[in-house]
Symmetry: C2
Subunit: 358 residues, 2 copies
């Protein structure tokens, strides 16, 4: 397909205006390679990687493809430790610990989510991926300056038009308009009101009207119909996550894959139980009994400490009761096909959808 | 514009696949006439009309246009009176009554919302509008049969793919896929979980895949970019509400118009405070202090009884504190232009959006 809007293609050096969403714990170097080789923008989710593991990932990806790559980081403020809150939360979850045979003080365990810092920036500058994207705002101005000096394209997520304007003013070269349908963490950083977050159909045109930089639509886009819709709304491209969770390159565990295959449009909700920040997942027992949103959960990312042992113990017994089953609102559009083939399918579907609509 | 998908145009007998959303209290006979004369489908919101007033409205509309018209009804189960719950709710709101100088037992007042019944069906059959649409499910099978015998096209709203399948099985000739962005009442009737309701971008393709009848996209569509996106998603047309609220034909009061003009993508939320069922409105004081969703509110539509006197008393003082400021999530796309011109603008914008995207 010949794309009439070339803004994102030129900015990112890609053939198709489709970005594979970075999904910490689920996307992989192999997925990013396959997507980029197919002409989309493959993404490395660095939110749970140390500088050391990020270096390894980037080595693998750059050996696998010479095409453009995106590396994604979280830029949250590190939380202030709150022992009382943490203890209260542990107490709240104690019956589940008991049920699963875990000691109440089971080791925190699980992945660490550290914000982008000078050390991670050093790794980025060593490998110079084409794009660095951020979630929860923007890094310190000094780090942005270093990235830009290295000609790395800087992108971040907005969940409101006001956030998009803020990101543009703070140096973003493109803005992701993350509609409420999106799986995983809401990128919200100027608001904390989950209930007022707009869906993709409403958000994208209002963000497009608010900023001059190209806008990438995200949230609920699972096939070429959604990519075509994103372009019709004025976006320069689409970011897609959930649709890649059933690819062979995804690190999605078997129980999560099965849950995705059984999920429907109304199977998900936004919850803060797994990390402390609102994120969209498939509704499970943990959410039904404690959430979906609970004011007592520790601040991001500390809530993950208490939730992770439950997930691990339940998973070992074949249960998804405490698993963060990341998913956007279009799980039924996810397909079991290689990531590179998925990009090709998305491109031809987009063309067909625009032809049918026009 | 020459539309390549003619399913809805043929079914409804219209020129453009754009339906003006019925908005009880805000849309008008003049709006419906203007929209239908411009080639869209104008709608009469009958949810708050008696058989008598509906008859008058339909006379006005049929004198104003010979084109197709839609009449919309609510089909909720009449609530069971619950004196204790009602009294508790009155008590909860008592401080506001006091503040506004209202007696605690201020007359219920305000509009009545009665479900579609045989008497209203008689009026419909007398005037035979082209389309009858429903919200909150479907009427009794006997009434549906009478409508269909008169060759009236029957439509209803789905908020999930499961609801869409149910509506198709119960005789709908087309289904509205109402994404979470939509203003006014959620049409949900098989689920009551507001938090799992999908946005338009995710919902529409999943509904299109679930049913054989044509799907109308609704929710967050405010200009031609949205109409084009709806068609790209596989919808046969788009239903638009909020974008008509600033037209001269709208009965939107001045305070509501001002609130819409000041509203942004994140200014709205779903609340049950005004009627007992979740509906999207601009966030105001009442919602911030009591809502947005409150389990104590009386069942639909009884909650309106206690809320209406507050709205009226505050409005008289120039305040929107207790006004249901109906709005979808794209209020900034609403424009002050006559409804007929808005249809023409939507058509040319849709064409432009598809050309730009293709």
């Amino acid at each position: 397909m010949k794309w009439s809007d070339r803004r994102l293609l030129d900015l990112f050096g890609i053939d198709h205006p489709i970005i594979q969403a970075p999904m910490a714990g689920a996307s992989s170097a192999q997925m990013a390679i396959a997507v980029s080789q197919a002409g989309g923008l493959g993404s490395i989710a660095a939110a749970m990687l140390t500088a050391e593991t990020l270096r390894t990932e980037l080595q693998i990806v750059q050996q696998g493809t010479g095409r453009s790559i995106n590396v994604n980081f979280f830029v949250h403020q590190p939380p202030v430790a709150d022992a009382a809150r943490e203890a209260g939360w542990r107490q709240r979850l104690e019956p589940y610990y008991r049920e699963l045979g875990l000691p109440a003080d089971a080791g925190v365990g699980g992945p660490v989510r550290a914000p982008f810092d000078a050390e991670l920036c050093d790794v980025v500058l060593q490998f110079k991926p084409k794009v660095a994207s951020f979630h929860f705002g923007m890094p310190d101005a000094a780090l942005v300056k270093r990235l830009k000096a290295a000609k790395i394209v800087v992108v971040s997520s907005a969940t409101t038009a006001a956030e998009a304007r803020w990101l543009e003013a703070h140096g973003c070269d493109a803005v992701i308009a993350q509609g409420a349908e999106a799986g995983g963490h809401r990128g919200m950083f100027l608001t904390d009101d989950v209930a007022s977050q707009a869906g993709t159909m409403a958000l994208v045109p209002q963000v497009v009207d608010a900023v001059k930089v190209p806008v990438i639509a995200a949230g609920g886009i699972g096939d070429g119909r959604g990519v075509a819709a994103a372009l019709a709304l004025g976006a320069a491209g689409a970011q897609i996550g959930t649709a890649f969770l059933l690819t062979p390159e995804a690190k999605t565990v078997a129980l999560h894959r099965a849950a995705l295959k059984a999920a429907r449009d109304d199977s998900t909700t936004l919850t803060n139980l797994f990390t402390g920040r609102p994120a969209r997942v498939i509704i499970n027992r943990f959410i039904r009994e404690v959430g979906p949103l609970c004011a007592d959960a520790p601040a991001f990312p500390l809530a993950a400490g208490a939730a992770f042992p439950l997930r691990a113990a339940a998973e070992a017994k074949g249960s998804t009761d405490f698993m963060p089953l990341w998913s956007g609102q279009a799980p039924s559009l996810a397909r079991e096909m290689p990531s590179g083939e998925l990009i090709a399918a998305l491109v031809s579907e987009t063309e067909a959808a625009l032809r049918r609509a026009g």
